[in-house]
């Protein structure tokens, strides 16, 4: 079998062959879980990535978050770290619990929602103010790394038809809406300050005239469908969802800043090695809101690309992988 040879490798144990075979049929980073000690970039480095075992990367229960987490994971692997993945854990309350009990070490977060989660009384609304408030609010054992410019907010959307018929372009117009306002979003929204409670407290929509339907798809296609089909009047859809422009949805203005800035920000536990922060920082510096929209489009659109593929392509495009 003359064509089947690993010419550049001198020593190959049978385990090594098996590992290569596995790497060959995986679409993950080819360096994969290689022993960091053998990576020329890290051998002379004082940093000991393997000291605390693998870095466990988790994500919230929706695909955009998994894509970002996958980007972090592959960037860490590129730098020689061993990574364990635990994707789509669930809602914030659950993955936050996983972070505090040590099941995962780092999760991509969104600054504003995280702040309101940690400190319901927080008043900061601007990106920088939120980050500094966040640094205060994060309990011992956890820390936030540098945020990305990229932002993905919750946003209250209506169809253009609904907007025109009722003359509603802003959340402030909702108080004048007659009848029952049927709204949809993820189940936890029912109790979030930017959910129905906020609509009542901040925009004066009577609580009894809001009918909330929980849809467990993270503002995904089914939520969009419910809105477009007229099953609900208004839905919480994340701003990086391609369907907002595809379906011509109207994002209601939020003059009172009920929904505060939501920059992508990694939330890490003390188990996350300090010297790996630079790798995550490099990713966040490069990540833009447009990137998120494009990545979501590949994931939700016809291509249905997997988070791993999307992450690899993005990292390669930004010169953060294989360069």
């Amino acid at each position: 079998m003359p064509s089947f040879q690993f010419s550049r490798r001198t020593v190959l144990t049978s385990a090594g062959v098996a590992a290569l075979a596995l790497a060959g049929c995986s679409d993950a980073d080819p360096l994969g879980t290689a022993d960091p000690g053998q990576d020329p970039d890290t051998t002379d480095d004082a940093s000991e990535p393997a000291a605390g075992g693998p870095i466990r990367v988790g994500s919230a229960g929706f695909t955009e978050n998994e894509i970002i987490a996958e980007v972090y994971a592959q960037a860490l692997e590129e730098a020689g770290y061993t990574v364990e993945r635990n994707m789509q854990i669930g809602a914030r309350d659950i993955y936050y619990g996983a972070l505090t009990d040590g099941s995962v070490d780092i999760v991509p977060e969104y600054s504003g929602n995280l702040l309101q989660f940690l400190d319901p009384e927080a008043t900061a609304a601007e990106p920088d103010a939120i980050i500094s408030a966040l640094e205060e609010a994060v309990p011992e054992g956890l820390r936030v790394l540098d945020p990305a410019k990229a932002e993905n907010k919750d946003s209250w959307c209506v169809t253009s038809e609904f907007s025109e018929t009722n003359g509603i372009t802003s959340l402030a117009d909702l108080a004048g809406f007659e009848g029952t306002l049927r709204v949809a979003g993820n189940p936890e929204l029912a109790e979030r300050p930017y959910g129905p409670p906020g609509l009542t407290e901040i925009y004066g929509v009577p609580a009894e005239s809001i009918e909330f339907t929980p849809i467990d798809d993270g503002g995904g296609p089914l939520t969009v469908q419910a809105l477009v089909a007229g099953d609900v009047d208004m839905a919480d859809i994340y701003t990086t969802t391609p369907a907002i422009s595809d379906e011509g949805l109207v994002v209601l203005e939020d003059p009172e800043n009920m929904i505060i800035a939501q920059n992508v920000v990694p939330l890490a536990s003390d188990a996350f090695p300090v010297d790996a922060e630079g790798i995550i920082d490099a990713v966040n510096i490069a990540l833009t809101t447009e990137d998120l929209i494009a990545m979501n489009a590949r994931n939700q659109g016809d291509e249905k690309a997997s988070p791993a593929t999307i992450a690899t392509d993005w990292l390669t495009e930004k010169g953060l992988l294989g360069g």
Binding site: Q88, I94, S103, V104, K304, A305, S306
Partner: protein, 218 residues
């Protein structure tokens, strides 16, 4: 079906299939080990029968999701620990199998038992040499149901972040992608078929007389 997606994501599919199988394996084995003594006790004692059997059928009606979440509190495990799912599924397996075991020992019949005792077997010997082998076919049939139901329930763990084929259900739902959900369903059914074949094969080895009774009415 989007076959390109299937081949592009094959490593992930394989990985989750293996995890799914591993999580299901322990509960299937444990439920047999635990249900047989309870079933035997229910067969021997009226009190045990009156209390254990109704309790086990109600246990089966407890929704799985809260049980998954409650167990870390009780066991002191981590939220994402697959142990939670394993323990919960064992509870269901036992609940499902206890009644089958009790009924199986009942059908072995008092006559057989008394006969064996009369021949000088100790009660322990009666259990191991007479009752258990005779109840074997019914226990195997029950265990096959437990295996199918366990494999199907593992996927609910995806709602609390325990990786299994259930990931494809929630992720496929979130992006309205039927192919991905199909992959999860087919994977689960294939695993169920494999588990079933293995159980039947084990049954053939341990209970060689099952074949003869296979076609008669239960």
């Amino acid at each position: 079906m989007n076959l390109a997606w299937v081949s592009a994501n094959w490593p992930r599919i394989w990985d989750l299939t293996v995890q799914h199988a591993l999580i299901a394996l322990v509960p299937v084995v444990l439920s047999l080990v635990i249900a047989v003594p309870i079933g035997w006790a229910s067969h021997r004692s009226r009190l045990a029968r009156r209390t254990l059997l109704p309790f086990s059928s109600i246990l089966y009606a407890v929704p799985s999701l809260p049980l998954f979440v409650l167990l870390p509190v009780i066991l002191g495990t981590r939220i994402l620990d697959p142990v939670n799912v394993v323990v919960a599924l064992t509870v269901y397996g036992v609940a499902l199998l206890v009644r089958t075991a009790a009924d199986a020992f009942d059908t072995v019949g008092l006559a057989t038992r008394d006969d064996a005792l009369a021949h000088g077997h100790s009660p322990g010997q009666v259990f191991w040499r007479v009752a258990l082998p005779l109840a074997g076919p019914a226990l195997l049939a029950g265990l096959r149901v437990v295996s199918a139901s366990t494999l199907s329930l593992v996927s609910v763990g995806a709602l609390i972040g325990v990786p299994s084929l259930g990931y494809f259900f929630t992720d496929g739902y979130r992006r309205a992608f039927p192919t991905e959900i199909w992959v999860g369903i087919i994977g689960t059914v294939v695993l169920a078929a494999v588990f079933d074949l293995v159980l039947v094969a084990i049954g053939r080895v341990l209970l060689p007389w099952v074949r003869a009774t296979d076609r008669t009415r239960a």
